[in-house]
Structures are given as structure tokens and as C-alpha cells.
Symmetry: D2
Subunit: 431 residues, 4 copies
């Protein structure tokens, strides 16, 4: 009997990996890089604004693998539309489930915050690839046990490439299992119900579009049943951006931590000793690349421990930042609208004068934060809408809503500043 994993999940109810094709799951779960994902929260510092948002990348990885299993079931129900060589074999199914489980395995701590704070560091996709392809690593060994080609094929899928483009895009694309899971999971954990959408109906509405002779066709959406499912999926994502991912307290906390990490690295680079500095940071401060092992030692706890220790750092701005973050005394925001948003330099300059006047480092204590999202970008990879009668149509043509949103970008421009500066800055801006 294949090893099995059956788990309760608050989002999908029941996660059951008990088939031959999913035997990779129990094996991969025993590896250290996957267990490490338990120590990295999915939404970084968001729990400072949404107290429920404590869920980890580990549960998300399991959820993504589960959605992949369901998607494979759906694809097979549509198989008759495809020639044999374009269908999902058992081997390809196991590749896809593995890729879904591993898609974020190289993620750094504190969501995307860590990698954006250390500009020289490779991106998490790069680390994922290294983890998958390192022959001495547990992940590689688990993957290659039954099939020596699997690590490479899974790494391709994780990067959105592969023999069957429709499967590769299901790992990384507009409608991928990553997004399918994280929207539901983030909504469940934060309590922001706007992020819910109807996964059953979305899967049911999938069809194969038209390919050419040489490649497998892309996935498409059935117009009569599925248009509203995809509209709602894209809007759910957009609502989550507006409500959660762009939340002012989250953005403020991120700015603070990013500044603290940058200051820490700069101290280290200047030869200042900092307590509990993670080895990867020390190496990065020397301008070198951390080893894979050093990188994998990083998790949320390691970074928080450093920030906690740095409350006693010799650099007063760094110490102040760290104390404020831990006591959740977060920076406040002033939203810029209309003209001020289009040309924020004026407001930023006024606010930094206020900071300077108050004896605070203007570059740190006043920052400009621009958050942008395009709810729907209709590129060639976007699914088309098919129907029994008539030719395929683009989503922006077939959908009233998406037609009005395609290519439009929401932008939030804010000054992020120490709380004691907010009122003076407001007054100065109004003057």
C-alpha cells in the first residue's frame, strides 16, 4: 500500500493523499525544507493588522497540492477532447502534485519582505530551484527515488514551464493552484470574506481551448457556466489586495522591518557586531551569497529573534525601529489623493522637513509607499471563453465586468511615518 496522508484542513475540509500518484506527498512532507515552511507565515506581518492571519506556508503548500489533485480529476474528465499524447499520465500527475506542494519551498521568512529587503539576494523562485535540484538534499532524494527525471521536470513546472503548457500554467499562471488556495486560505484566516470564491464551480467550468497541431491546448472557460466563476475569482483576488495585502498597518510594518533589516545589514557591513544576527545576513553584508544551508536556516522566528535582540543595538535608529515593531507601535499612514498621488514628491518633501525638524532621520521615519495592482491583465496566457456555438472570445469581450477592468491599475499612494509625525505632517500638507 502506498504511504498515505490524511489531514484536516480548515479551508478544504479534508486533505487525502492516498493514491499512487500522490505518494510523493508523504515522502516530501518528511523533508526538512518542507517542515521549515511550518515556521514561515503565509502573510508575513499581516497578523499585526488581522489577528487571525497566523497560517503558514506549510498549510498552503498542502492546500495547493490538494487543489492540484482536484484539478487533475477535472482534466481527466475532459480528456476525451485530447489526443493521447497530450493527456495527463500518472507520471505527469505525480510531477504536478509534487510541483504544487513544492512551489514555494524556497520562500524566505516574512513573506516577500525578506527578499525585498536584501536586494542582492536571489529571489525565492531561484532558491526553490536549487532545493529541488541539489542532489545531496532531502527533497531531491525524495523526488528522484522512483524516477531520476522527476526533480528536473518538477523544477520546470515550478517555473511555469513543461511539456504540457496547460499543466505548467496550472502550477504558475493566472488560474494556478497557488492562487486558488491562497485566496481561500487568506480569506479564511483573516476573516475577510470577500476573498471567497466558488472553487467547485470554477473547476467545473474548465474546458480545453483550441491548440494547434504541435502543442497541447490551453485551458479555457465555458462561457455559459463559467464566466461568473472566473469574474468572481479575479474580483476576490482584487478585494484581498484592497483589504489585506494593501492594508495600511501591514504596509507600515513592512516598511519598518525592511528599514530595520537594511540598517542591520549596513551595520554589519560597517563591522558593527549585532547580537543574534542570522548567518545569512552576515554573509550577505559581506557582499557574498549565502549558502543554501544558511538560507534554509532562515525562518520567521530567526528574523524576529534578531529584531528583538537589536532592540539593544548600538545604532539608535535601528534600536528604536525594533522596539516599536515588537510593541506593535506601528507607523501611521497619510493617504495621498488626486494630484498629490500623481506627484507625491512635494508631499514627501514637506513631510521629511517635518521629521528633520523633529530630530528624526527623514529617510527612515518618513517613507513613500506606492502599492499597485492590476486586477485583470489580458495577455496571451489568459484563458479564453468557449461555447458550444460560436468562436472563442476573449474574457474582456465576453465579460461585462472584466471588459471594464482589463488593464486598469489601482494605485494607493501613502506617506508612512512615525505616529508622532502624523498630525504635524497633516497640518503642514494642508497649509
Amino acid at each position: 500500500m502506498a504511504p498515505r496522508v490524511i489531514l484536516r484542513d480548515p479551508v478544504h475540509g479534508l486533505l487525502a493523499f492516498e493514491s499512487e500518484e500522490s505518494r510523493c506527498v508523504p515522502r516530501l512532507l518528511q523533508t526538512e525544507p518542507l517542515q521549515r515552511l511550518r515556521r514561515i507565515k503565509q502573510l508575513g506581518v499581516t497578523s499585526l493588522a488581522f489577528p487571525g492571519a497566523e497560517h503558514t506556508r506549510f498549510s498552503h503548500a498542502l492546500g495547493a497540492a490538494h487543489v492540484m489533485q482536484r484539478l487533475l480529476g477535472r482534466l481527466r474528465a475532459l480528456h476525451e477532447a485530447l489526443p493521447y499524447w497530450q493527456r495527463v499520465t500518472s507520471e505527469r500527475a505525480e510531477d504536478a502534485i509534487s510541483a504544487a506542494l513544492l512551489h514555494d519551498v524556497g520562500h524566505g521568512p516574512l513573506s516577500h519582505l525578506f527578499e525585498s529587503a536584501l536586494p542582492g539576494l536571489p529571489h525565492h523562485e531561484r532558491w526553490s530551484t536549487e532545493i529541488l535540484l541539489d542532489p545531496s538534499g532531502q527533497v531531491f532524494q525524495a523526488l528522484s527515488r522512483a524516477d531520476a527525471g522527476r526533480p528536473m521536470r518538477v523544477a520546470e513546472l515550478v517555473n511555469g514551464r513543461g511539456e504540457l503548457p496547460y499543466l505548467a500554467r496550472a502550477v504558475s499562471g493566472v488560474l494556478d493552484v497557488d492562487r486558488c488556495d491562497y485566496l481561500l486560505r487568506d480569506a479564511h484566516a483573516t476573516g475577510v470574506r470577500y476573498g471567497m470564491y466558488d472553487l467547485d464551480w470554477l473547476l467545473q467550468s474548465l474546458r480545453f481551448g483550441e491548440g494547434d497541431a504541435s502543442t497541447a491546448p490551453p485551458l479555457a472557460v465555458d462561457g455559459s457556466k463559467g464566466l461568473v466563476a472566473i469574474e468572481e475569482f479575479l474580483l476576490a483576488r482584487f478585494f484581498m489586495f484592497q483589504q489585506v495585502y494593501f492594508h495600511k498597518s501591514t504596509r507600515a510594518a513592512e516598511r519598518m522591518i525592511r528599514s530595520a533589516l537594511a540598517l542591520g545589514v549596513s551595520c554589519l557591513a560597517d563591522g558593527v557586531a549585532l547580537p543574534d544576527a542570522p548567518r545569512a545576513l552576515v554573509v550577505a553584508a559581506r557582499g557574498e551569497r549565502p549558502s543554501l544551508g544558511e538560507y534554509l536556516d532562515l525562518d520567521d522566528a530567526v528574523v524576529w529573534q534578531a529584531l528583538h535582540a537589536w532592540e539593544r543595538a548600538p545604532h539608535p535608529v535601528l534600536a528604536d525601529l525594533c522596539r516599536r515593531v515588537r510593541a506593535r507601535s506601528l507607523w501611521k499612514t497619510v493617504e495621498l489623493l488626486d494630484e498629490d498621488a500623481a506627484h507625491p514628491e512635494r508631499a514627501l518633501s514637506i513631510a521629511r522637513d517635518v521629521a528633520r525638524h523633529a530630530g528624526l532621520d527623514p529617510e527612515v521615519y518618513v517613507q513613500l509607499d506606492v502599492a499597485e495592482d492590476t486586477p485583470f491583465e489580458e495577455d496571451d496566457a489568459a484563458p479564453v471563453v468557449v461555447s458550444a456555438h460560436g468562436p472563442p472570445r476573449r474574457l474582456s469581450e465576453a465579460s461585462f465586468l472584466l471588459g471594464r477592468l482589463a488593464g486598469e491599475t489601482l494605485s494607493k499612494t501613502r506617506l508612512v511615518l512615525a505616529p508622532e509625525l502624523r498630525d504635524p505632517v497633516r497640518r503642514a500638507l494642508a497649509a
Copy 2:
């Protein structure tokens, strides 16, 4: 305008503390002891078995305060049944909301695990009282700002005592706001839906029972509407015990960590230096009581950091335990039934022989775990059932289900042992 806190919550949807009576909430949230609860998971190591169970005591504290607000609303709708001096005044309401928010403020890390691992240490209720009554502490100062008597009154409530017994029992009793929130929250986070019950209906079914001339009456339950609500509440709790709190992997992990902490303390007491040992442990190992400040420095991360560091401890059993916990290579269980459960010594002795034979410390690598719960204990504090016609009845009389469960105890007896011992132990037991 009173300071306000309005938050998303995945369990109750919306938490709004914006009245005069709840102005304590925003103030208390700014204190370090409350922010510390963000760093203590509600269910300790349970996320090793239920990946969603990452929720913290911080969100639970907010939830309990919210349920208290709702309960106060209900009590006031029933007020006409009471003389004036037994009603909930604004002052008592603010006391009660504060007590609900603070009821767990002295909790140690890793749920109840920490305090059971260090037998000499005061219980968390005791620490809570100290935090509330320490005049130099932030919590005391926030509470006493408007009313010097509040810290003492809140401390009484947290310990289930107070001028109005019905209010005190709502903080700590069979039907308290703690339990009302944690059942829903644990169910939401683990995905074990059996823990859900109907809070709206439970609140609606409350009545005042009969008191005597001198004291306020206890809360009772309306027989025609409320019996099923309370049955379901008690069963929800019982299902959570069976499914989550007694889960074999959770119990196994707890046994391992408890052993590791005890070994750690014993090493420290023997003068063995251990890296990253929390100050409170070092003090406790000397047989002294940690200070309040040392206790408050403890959180989940501090303990996990110690366990991680002790993978390199000189004590081989300690190091082995710590490595296994972090890699989630947990101990397995063998459930004992019938005669073996009634007299587990025989099985334990056989299993320890197997361990000894395998060269493993039998006291550590084989343990006996007995988990017990009484779903419904009908004591004098249990609510009675009232109806418009006829005298009050005890729950066990009025309820078919509770009549059959009252005083009955579920007991799970298990051997908890290293995975490599399970099969040999099973064979030895069967022999």
C-alpha cells in the same frame, strides 16, 4: 470620543470595541503582556497534527472579550427580572470585558505544556493575578487609570469570584466566555467542524434562575428553546477533546517536549551549560522562582529556540529528543483497550523491556499517557433548566442526552514510544 478598536476576526466576523464600556480594550491592547499573547499559540504543538492550528492566545483573548460584550447585551435584555443592585452597571461591564480580555494573560508558552513540565512553577492563573496587580506593570496602569479599584475587581473575576456570581461564572465557569470562544476558534482553525455550536441560540436561551434574598441569581437555560443549545455546546467540547485535544500525535509531541524540558532543567541543575536556555528555566533549575519579568520573557519562540539549540546539547537523549521534535519525527502510540487499559502497568513494563533491549532509555522512550475527560459533570454550579410552567429541573433530568452522560468519564490510555519501538512492542504485547 472613546478610543476604538475594530477588527476582522475569522470566527466572529467583526470585533468592534467602540463603546465607553469597552474603552479598556484599546488601552490594554497596547500593553506588552497582551502583545506577548501574539507569540503564544492557543493550542501549543497541536499544529503538528492539524496544520491549521496556528491561532494565538491573542486572537482568543479578543474573541472572549467580544463574547462577553454579547453576553452583557443579553443579560441586560433580561434585567427586568432582577432588583437594581444585581444588575450589570457600566462599571461592572467594563470589569467583565477587561477580565475576559485578560483571563489568560499569564499563560506560559506551548499551551499547558510548559507549566506541567516544570512542576515547581506557579500555575498560569497565579501569574495572571500578579500581572494584574503589579502596580509597576502596564496592565495595572491601564486598568487603574479611571478607577483605582478595577485591577483588584478584575483579578477576582479572572479567578471566578465577584460580587455578582453570574458574572464571575461567565468569566470562569461551565458556560464561560473562554470556552465559548475557544471551541469555535479551535474548530475554525483545525477544520474539525464538530466543535461548532450555535452561539446565537445559546445566548438567546439564557435566563436568570432563582436566587435567594441575599445573592444575585445564577444563570439558567430556557427549557423549551435552550436545552438543545447547551447539549450541543457540551458535546462540541467533548468532540474537540476526542478529536483534537487528545489527538495521538499531539499527545506524543507533548510528551516529547515535556521530557526535553525536564531533562534540560535537570542538566542545568547539574551545572551543565545549555545554549539559549531561557533565563526563567535557569532560575527554576536553581530551585528559585523566576521573576515576573523573566516569566514574561517566555513565549513559544523562546522555547522552540532552546529546543533547536539543544540539538547540540551534550546530553545525548536530550539532543535526540530535540532533533526528532523539530524534524516532526514524532513518537507513535499504541492504544490500550479493556483490561490493558484498566491495568496498564503490565503493558508499560513489557514495552520498557523492549526499549531497554534496544538500548533506549525506557523512562523517556516509552511513556504511559492517560487522557481523561468528563463531558458533563453536574455540580451545583451547573446551570438549571427553567420553564414558564413547573419548577426548575437539573440538566441531567431535563436532557435525554446529558442524563446519559452526566458524570461519565472518557479515558484514553496509550503507550507513547519511539517509532522504531512500535512494531516490536506490538509483537511483545500480542505474545
Copy 3:
């Protein structure tokens, strides 16, 4: 391509019948006997007490067929435990889905009320069989189109018999798809959340038990995962009985309508003309059996129309009953407890004296209503509990809860009487 039906369902989300095996569903949905189920509410007069309970037997039939599809999926995942001849073939799957869809096709109007009001009438199971086997009927024709043996096999399954006992019991048994659907559907519609249970987990916990050489094994429940799922399922059912199916207003309305129908039939038998009397009643009043066509003309609307018309009946008691029911001026109940419940004759006699004294027909205006349910009866057909280690155990042994409930019967004894009699009867009983 097979004909397909894809529907939104408020309970299961999405009902998709699109495989070869479920092509019977679209065909059967086009028959008049199935469309007639749209006109019969699942819970009869329950909407008088729970305004949401308007759902029909039509949606329940679809839901049961959906659960059967899911169950078949689960059985096939367990197939390897069975010899080939005991597995679910495509033919058997289509039989089972058809049987699930058709299991209630012979139901009379107003839930079970109609058949209990006319004692001579065949039970609905009998009518179902006739509908299935009538060669001139649409249902028979739809079933036999591809396979002449199907009507007979489906009729067997509907009656809980068949070649594979585990499949027959899934149509009609302790854990059948009928119950699986109606608990969730009734809970959804009434708002009584206690009726929810975890269908996913229940299906996942199924195993095959041990059969003997000659017959397929029965279904069993996996002890480690499934015990709580089945406990909760049985308790959900029990909670629904307590809260909904035994609700005092529902029972009162049922008593009233049953009396009205009986009086109506008796009038017709006496040759009194009644307006809008359904043909089936007229025939039954003559002591004859209605034809299948006459029976199928009955639905909720036809009965309500008769009751409405009979407000103008020459029989004053009948007219009064009908007026009260339509204006929802329902009878009230007096619950009998303890001794009064054990020997209700005394209370009934006192109450009827009060009625007589008030000039009301005592047999009609005061009735005794005894509602009984046994939450768990452990007979030979009950599933056993299996585990990887050790022999199968009975549910009452393996489950703490079910061990305490097995064979126990809840009984509610009530006087049901005209509202104007309630206070005088209460006084007379208390005297």
C-alpha cells in the same frame, strides 16, 4: 456525448451528472413522476414552525443521487479489498444512482402525514415500486431504455435489497444516501445547524468489513478516523428529531390536518359532497384503492386546495379545523413529564372533560401525541468499527457516546389541544 445535468444546489454546491453512469439522471428528470416531486415539500407542514423549510422532495432526490455518486467514488477507491465479482460495475453504478434519485418517487403529499391519515392506503414504498415497474409509465421507460433488467434491479435497491448488500444498504439503511442528504438539507433549510455533520469525513472513513465467502462484505467504519464522524452523524439526526421533526407546532399542525383528512374521508363515505376533494380521497372513501394515476395526481397543492375549500364544508368541526390551519391558528401543546408521561390516560381524560365542558368535540380538540426516537439501535445491519490492529468492534463498544445511547429511546408525550383549552387544562391538571 451523454446528456448532462449541472445544477446549483444550496447544500452540496454543485450537482454534476455528466458521466456515462449518470446519464439516467437527465432522462429520469424529464418524467412526470419526478417533476411531481417539485410539488411535495420535504418536511410537509414544518414550514409553519420553521419558515425556511420550503425545500422539496425534488431537490432531495437530486441530492441523494449526488451523494450516491460520491459514495461510489469512495467505494471504488477501496475496491482493491474486494474480489472482482463484488465490485461496483458501471451497470451497478447506474442502478444505484437511479435508485437514489427514485427512492422517494412514490411519496404522498405533506410528508408522511398523508399516508398516516388514510390507514387503508398503501405505503409510499409500495407506490414507488409500482411507478418503477409499470411498463406504461415514463419512469419504467426511461430506466429500461438501455437495459431491460434495470427497472427490477432498481426497485430491489429502493427496497434495500440487491446483489451487493453494501450497495443496497447505501440506498436504504442506517448510513444511506437518503439520510446523508436529508439531514444536511433539512438543517440548511430550517437553520437548525445541529443537523450538520461532516459528509467528507464520513465518506473518507468508510472501509469494507469482513464478509464470508459467499457474500460481499458490509461497509464498516475506520476506527481511528471515522468513529467521531459516525457519532456526529447519528447525533445530528437525533438533534434534528428533537428540534425539528418533534417540534410542538409541527406535531400540532400534523394532528390537525390528519383529523381534517379523516373527517373529510368520513364525510365522503357518508355521501356528503365536499368541494375540491381529490379523486384519490373520494375513491379511498369508497373503500377502494386509488389507481396509480389518481395517486400521482396528489401533491401538496391539491391537499391544501381541498383544505381551503373545506372551510365551507357542511361539517362544522371539519370547517373549523380547516380555517384554523390556513390562518396558522395552531393547536397548542402541554408536555407531560414523569408519571404523567408514563400513564397519560389520566391527563388525557381530564383534558377531554375540559373540552366537553367547553362544548368542543373531545376526540378532535384534545389529542394525545407521543413522539419517539431511538438515536442508535445497534442491530446486525449497523456498521462495525475496524482498525489495522485488532478485531472489528461493535459501535457501542468502540464509541463512548454510542455505548451510552445504544437502544435508548427518547419519548415526548404531549396533549395537543385547541389554544382556548390550554389554560383551563393546565389548571385542571394542576388541581
Copy 4:
């Protein structure tokens, strides 16, 4: 003690009307016009497409009264912003709850279908007013029992007028309790989850805007918390239009029944006797206005009974329509896109030629159906967005989404035709 009503509701969980202000609810529930709403489905024939959509206007009326109670609670929490004479007194609260309960009391059978089928008939709002103001009616008597001015005030509110415009618009406006309830209820019953929105958050986000000296201010939305709540509310409504209210089978069934009713009236006007014709139709066919009593005798069952009886009508087209509707052999649709939608006359004319050629009445068997909805029309009554800093902004300015949707109209143009015509018409159109 005030009379009380406490009910389970599948949408809101618990409906409790037990205060002084809501004593109107139990009284009004005993009137015949409210009980009649039990016999009128909220969504008319929609259950032909969504089998769960059996919910009635009765449960919706209760739900709207419940939302009004919650809204009143919220308004009072905001009261301090208003001068005394603009606040919600107990009298105004009882008016508002009564109006919410009664807002649809004059509704005809089969949703809006009935009134659109008989063009001469007064609209349901008109009938509601008559019911409220008829001094001999039960509703008037229940309302005027404690306060002779109440019927008139409630009638004003039902029509969206009143002393406090913010309260009047809460009965009938963009954000009224009618819409707040029906979106959730229709979503719950159909299973179309897109209709869900976050009522808690919407209520919490309400503020008072700015009024002038003479009138009470309108309701506004808090920009920082509430914008997304109102966006989601408006989109939920729009999704329900796309998915449910405009569903092709529903629209087709409506067209069929409307034609049948029109043909029926025309037969009656021509002196043709039709069995079971409701009295109100007979009167209307004579060109007279039915009396209030005749109107109130109409409900869904009465119309379905007529349609069933008319299967034997002497008019063959009428009989055919009625037979098809009952057997759910509904008309099919051909959606017209682009140019065909802009100028549908060409397609209609081609399709009618096909019908004529097939010997079918072209006006009945082929119809043009244009369904239109404007998701967000920003008129003067739309709420504005307020914030602590800066002036109020229009919704279309403050919201990225609503700015792109304001004033835009979705239009669905379809040919609705007998199933046997669909393929020939498709071919003819493609030619």
C-alpha cells in the same frame, strides 16, 4: 410582557422580536395578508432552474424586519452625531420595523410575473398601500391598535417617504433592508454563493453624512472601513442578476407563463369559459379592477392550479403552453451578440419565419427577451463616502471599481423559442 416571536432562520440564524418596539411583529404575523405571503415564492418560477429556490416572501419579510432591527441598533450607536429631533424614537423604530415586515405585503403571485402579465392591474406597491390603509383590514387594525397614526406613517415609509429620509431610504433605497435580506436569502436558497456579502461589516461602516439645518442627514459610508463593503454589496447584487435573475430558463419560463396568462385573459374577455380561473382574472378580463379581497385570494397555488386546469382549455396554444410549463419542457434561448443584439429585429423576424413555417404561432413561440441591469447608478440618493480627514467623496470617485461601473448597463438579448425551433433558427441565423 410584550408578545414575542423567536424563530430559526437559515439566513440570519436567529430572529428574535421580543422588545417593546417589535411587538408589532407578533401581531402582524397573525394577519391573513402576512400569512398569505407563505404561499408566494420569493423568486417565482426560478426554482425551475435552481431547485433550491423555494423560499417564500414570508421568510423574506421576517428577514427584512430583522435587518431593520439590526440597522436601528447601529443608527442608535451613531446617534450622538444628530440633534434630538432627528434621532430614532421608539415610535419611529416601531414604524420602521413594521414597514420592513410589510414592504411586500401587496405582492402578487409568481414574483413580478403576475403584474407584468396583466398590464391594467395596479402595481404591488399600490396594493400594499391599500392593505395598510383599509380600516376594515386586519393589518390596519393591528397597526393602529396602539397608535392611530401608525398605518399612515408605515404606508409612507413603505413608499420610501417619511419624516426622517435616512429611515425612509432604509425601507426603500439603494441600501435598503429589502435588498440586504433578499440578496442573502436568494443566495442561500439557490446556492449561488456570489450573492453573499458581509452584512456585519456593511452595518458597521455606516455613518451619518452632512445634512442641512432643516433635514436629517443621509446615511453615508466610512471610507476607510466601508468602501469595500458597499462595493461587494453592489457586486453581489449584480452577480445575482447575471446568474439567477437573468437565468435563461427562468426568463423562458416567465415568458411562457406571461403568454399563457395573457391568452387566458383574452379568452375570458372573449367569453370563453376557462376552468379554475381566479376571480381576479375574470374581473380583470372584463376591464374592471379586482377588489382587494379578490386580489388577496391570489397566490402561487391559485395560478398554478389555473395553469394546470387550462391544459384542457379549448384554445390549443394556451393548452399547449400550460402542458409544457407543468412538464418543465421549457423554451430554449438563443443569445444574440454584438450587432444582432443592437438590432435584434432581423433575428426576430428570421426566427418567426421559421416558426410560421413550422406551423407555430410566431408571436407566442418566438419572443424577444431583453434583460437589462445597471449595477450602480450614482444618483443623488446614493450614499457618499466620508472620512475623518477631507471632504465627502462620491462613490464613483472613492471606489476604483464603482468608478468603472457607474452608469454602465449590462444587457442580455435573447430569442426565446420552443425547443423544436432552436436548431432550425440557429441554422437560419447562420445562413
